[in-house]
């Protein structure tokens, strides 16, 4: 390696950059992207990411089906989305270019690994040999940089003992080193990462380090690249930050909730994309009293969690749409038992197996309605990776303090996406207080004292009433082992207060109403509804929920700056709704509901509030761009 001091190349400043890494699913694209993300976040940029990968672990190499992508938006300004279009497209082969060229801005830069455009790769990508995009002029209008990453990596690794295949696996580090140079970033974070990851494989560590450095020096020495860029730190609120994905946020929110309730956490789960990372994360934190149980199927996953809650732990299960469908009957049981339980649905494209690795918001009706009988379960939704933490914590709060199953909806987009998080201090989180019954002295009256005897069973003088409700309609949580509180509960309709089996028609109607009322009253604790942005009344209100938040916020802020009378409210509570939502909807001439489904929230809003809500719908397994939202809003304003 040359030690000559090179003349520094000029540096141009950019406010924000969208970079899209794409390659074969075996090329290590996700790692390259997440390392560059962490490096930028550590530097102080605001970031938002969107990993996009195929359902197959290793789809046929070089084909369109096997293309894996990682989009990163980083800036010196507030960033709310992974960016509509890329400024820079890094492609490892012809298929990656073909699949992603449409996402590149006019005039954007392409960094292409030339080795990935040989005859074989062109053929696999379905490109005729005489139509090589690198040479046929079709990329005019873009700035094309050709780099033989494969050759350069191999050269850098000459003299190492690794085989050719293993050497080629270091290509992603070469690319990362080069991009670090291009954006004036240091390699330090990735070096630390590699040292930890390959601590026991010194040769692999050495090779990856060499490739990383070679990529960096290539930037400095190569004449192809005359300019570096710089994105200054963002004016983020002061504080200490970390990077977090949605699934991590969910896992940490659940643990924080259990800790604040001073309970052990039992997580029953069956592996499913894109929810499995919650299981992986939780299983690393057993020292918090976390027990993870990889059940034999989805039904056992939720049923084991119900059993754990019955025993006095915080029972949790998570899945994605198809798994949630299997859990439906057990959700009904948890609701009948009136036992705390958190059910997380990391939504993906459906129906059936659908699009396992793509995102969608099409399980809202399933969450609100998808059970037999009248089975109301509170449904809440997270809007960003960070919000996953807050909403998971709230799900625990609602479940434990109201003795009910709670459904938390996230989706593949925010579950895998990441953003910088100014994490809270533990002491700032509220204590959670489940309705436990204090230990009783022998001979003290049970909670049945003073009750109308006719409502009690024959032994009612001393009987404990498991379904005696407080003013919020919440029943007490008596745990096996507590003397004098023995009782029987089950999925069969129960007599009011005693919980004994009852087929009395009037009692059934009363119980259905009591269970519904209990859930409705949860809305009493919600904070007043708050606009995310925009005027308190006006032409149009955009009502969003879940992961569309960033795209809607970006579009709404732009249009407000342009003087449009547009407001944005983002709903976290989907069932029951915030009590302020109905009145708010009436303050605007029009209501627009963007959703990654055919209009599920729109229909709920129409049914509940008799409002003529209009839909903006996208069902492509991909998130909205802010441009699409903007166009949708402008359309409505013109209509």
């Amino acid at each position: 390696m040359s030690t000559t001091t090179l003349k520094p190349k000029p540096v141009e400043t950019r406010q924000n950059v969208v970079i899209l890494f794409a390659g074969d699913s075996g090329d290590g694209i996700q790692l390259t992207g997440s390392q560059f993300t962490d490096t930028n976040a550590l530097f102080g940029n605001d970031v938002s990411t969107f990993p996009n990968f195929p359902a197959e672990i290793r789809a046929p190499q070089g084909t369109l089906a096997g293309v894996s992508g990682y989009q990163l938006h980083f800036g010196s300004v507030e960033i709310w989305t992974p960016g509509d279009q890329a400024d820079v497209l890094v492609v490892m082969n012809a298929a990656a270019l073909k699949a992603n060229l449409g996402k590149l801005k006019k005039g954007g830069s392409i960094i292409a690994n030339t080795d990935g455009f040989d005859k074989k790769n062109l053929r696999l990508a379905g490109i005729p040999e005489d139509a090589d995009p690198l040479t046929n002029g079709s990329l005019e209008g873009f700035v094309l940089h050709q780099v033989d990453v494969t050759k350069l990596t191999r050269t850098a690794l000459e003299g190492t003992t690794l085989g050719m295949k293993e050497k080629d696996r270091c290509k992603n580090m070469f690319v990362l080193g080069f991009i670090n140079w291009m954006y004036s970033r240091e390699n330090a974070l990735t070096e630390g990462f590699l040292q930890k990851k390959f601590a026991r494989k010194p040769e692999v560590l050495d090779a990856n380090m060499k490739a990383l450095h070679a990529g960096y020096f290539y930037g400095e020495t190569s004449e192809t690249f005359s300019t570096r860029f710089e994105v200054k730190p963002a004016p983020m609120p002061t504080g200490t930050y970390r990077s977090i994905t949605g699934n991590q946020g969910t896992a940490l929110g659940l643990i924080a909730g259990a800790q604040k309730a001073k309970l052990d956490l039992f997580y029953g789960s069956y592996p499913i994309t894109p929810a499995s990372d919650i299981l992986h994360e939780l299983s690393r934190h057993k020292n918090f009293g976390v027990i993870t149980f990889q059940a034999e199927d989805e039904i056992a996953a939720i049923s084991s969690a119900i059993g754990a809650s019955y025993g006095g732990a915080l029972g949790i299960t998570a899945s994605s749409g198809p798994g949630i469908a299997l859990k439906a009957e057990a959700m009904g049981l948890a609701l009948m038992l009136e036992i705390p339980l958190v059910i997380v649905n990391v939504q993906r494209g459906g129906p059936s197996t659908g699009l396992p690795t793509k995102t969608e918001q099409a399980d809202l009706w399933q969450a609100v309605h998808g059970r037999n009988g009248e089975a109301p379960i509170p449904v809440i939704a997270a809007s960003t990776p960070i919000d996953c933490f807050d909403m998971a914590f709230e799900a625990v709060q609602l479940a434990l303090e109201h003795m009910t199953p709670v459904i938390l909806l996230t989706d593949g987009y925010i579950a895998n996406g990441s953003e910088p998080w100014r994490f809270p201090e533990a002491k700032s989180l509220p204590e959670i207080k489940p309705p436990f019954i204090p230990a009783r002295e022998a001979g003290t009256p049970s909670n049945a004292e003073g009750m109308d005897r006719s409502a009690l069973s024959e032994r009612g003088v001393e009987a404990f009433l498991p379904y005696l409700r407080d003013e919020r309609g919440v029943r007490p949580w008596a745990l096996p082992g507590q003397a004098g509180l023995q009782h029987r509960i089950g999925g069969i309709e129960k007599q009011d207060k005693t919980g004994n089996i009852s087929y009395d028609p009037a009692n059934h109607e009363k119980m259905v109403q009591l269970r519904a009322e209990k859930v409705t009253r949860i809305a009493d604790r919600f904070k007043p509804i708050r606009l995310d942005s925009g005027p308190p009344e006006g032409d149009l209100l955009v009502v969003g929920w879940g992961s569309t938040y960033g795209a809607i916020r970006t579009a709404a802020l732009q249009l407000q700056a342009e003087g449009k009378s547009v407001a944005h409210v983002h709903i976290r509570h989907l069932f029951p709704f915030n009590k302020g939502l109905g009145p708010l909807l009436k303050k605007y001439k029009k209501v627009l509901v963007p959703e990654m489904n055919s209009g599920q929230l729109r229909q709920l809003l129409r049914a509940e509030f008799l409002v003529d809500a209009q839909g903006l719908n996208k069902i492509q397994g991909m998130p909205f761009t802010s441009e699409e939202i903007r166009a949708g809003i402008l359309n409505q304003l013109r209509a």
Binding site: D38, R242, G268, N287, R459, G481, G484, R488, I489, N500
Partner: protein, 343 residues
């Protein structure tokens, strides 16, 4: 059933609840309920330490009749509820009540996983070879050809041999008893209760409404001696009032005469409930008693193994994690491994 404290003579703990028992008159379930209550009353356990969890079916109403903690869950899923409960409350005495449809049809997947994990629970499988609560369809233990409401021309399904299935799933306690032999049942229940791990007790239970007499040949005085064999650890396999025995010819069991001039007791198969190979043969004594030369049906404890329980292993990991990393520090968790500070 109900008694009001103060008006009846002082008695030791009464485990019966104040709920009226609603099984059909003459149902075999009454006998099992009685034996379980008697066992618990004699066991010295406190009512609040005992939990009954059931699925769906006639047998699964059982928890409502016990003055303990009870959970009547959904069809087939009791093993999963038990697994969750035991993971967080290892000190309780947990009993699971199930039937042939609940455990072997809709819950078949869960029961085998309960057994391989070896969750500490006493499972009472009421086998009546019929669906009772849905009024008389064949079950996964009904014999081939069984004429029921859903099989007017006879069942075409080959039935499960439940104990062979459980052995295949590496159960650590396998036993069989019958509703008509209360003394035997009580002994077996006591053994099951003493075992740490999943104790699987199959109880032949007569459904006198939809499948009356299904086990008559094993339970009636006249036919019982020739068709049943009660196995005891360390003792030779003899039946027919001591006149016949079973000998192992290599891997093959054969019936032999044991009276004067017959085979000596020391040549017979000596039951060893710790022997997994012999247990695998014993569970295979499952002949149709109507067939000529059928092997007698064994009752008793077939197999015992002291493998560690699932919850002990799970909780040991939690403990070890606490020792290695210290009790969870929420601030450290929220902070994670990489942070940066602005301002």
């Amino acid at each position: 059933m109900s008694t009001v404290n103060g008006t009846t003579p002082v008695q030791k703990v009464d485990f019966s609840s104040d709920q009226e028992v609603r099984w059909c008159p003459g149902c075999g379930d009454y006998s099992i309920l009685k034996q379980v209550q008697t066992l618990l009353e004699q066991s010295g356990k406190k009512k609040e330490e005992v939990v009954f969890i059931s699925g769906i079916g006639c047998s699964s109403r059982f928890p409502y009749y016990m003055d303990t903690y009870g959970l009547h869950s959904i069809h087939g899923r009791a093993p999963a509820l038990v697994s969750g409960l035991r993971s967080v409350r290892p000190e309780l005495s947990v009993w699971m009540i199930t039937g042939d449809g609940d455990a072997l049809s809709i819950g078949g997947n869960h029961i085998i996983h309960l057994l391989r994990r070896n969750v500490d629970v006493n499972v009472l499988l009421f086998n009546n070879e019929i669906y009772g609560l849905t009024k008389g369809q064949y079950s996964p233990t009904s014999p081939e050809g069984a004429v029921t409401r859903s099989t007017p021309m006879g069942s075409t399904d080959h039935p499960f041999n439940p104990l062979a299935l459980f052995k295949g799933a590496d159960a650590t306690f396998i036993a069989r008893s019958m509703d008509r032999d209360p003394k035997h049942m009580r002994e077996i229940l006591a053994r099951a209760d003493a075992h740490r791990g999943t104790s699987l007790v199959e109880v032949y239970q007569n459904c006198n409404v939809f499948n009356d007499g299904a086990f008559e040949v094993f339970t009636e005085k006249a036919t019982k001696p020739m068709n049943t064999i009660f196995v005891e650890h360390g003792k030779p396999l003899v039946f027919a009032n001591g006149t016949r025995g079973i000998k192992l010819n290599g891997m093959t069991p054969v019936i032999v005469d044991t009276y004067a001039g017959g085979v000596g007791l020391d040549e017979l198969w000596i039951h060893d409930e710790r022997d997994p190979f012999k247990a695998s043969i014993l569970v295979r004594l499952f002949d149709d008693p109507r067939l000529e030369g059928a092997m007698p049906r064994p009752f008793g404890v077939f197999y015992v193994n002291d493998r560690p329980t699932h919850e002990d292993k799970l909780r040991a990991q939690v403990q070890r994690s606490k020792e290695m990393k210290g009790p969870g520090d929420l601030d450290a968790l929220l902070k994670g491994e990489h942070t940066w500070t602005i301002g």
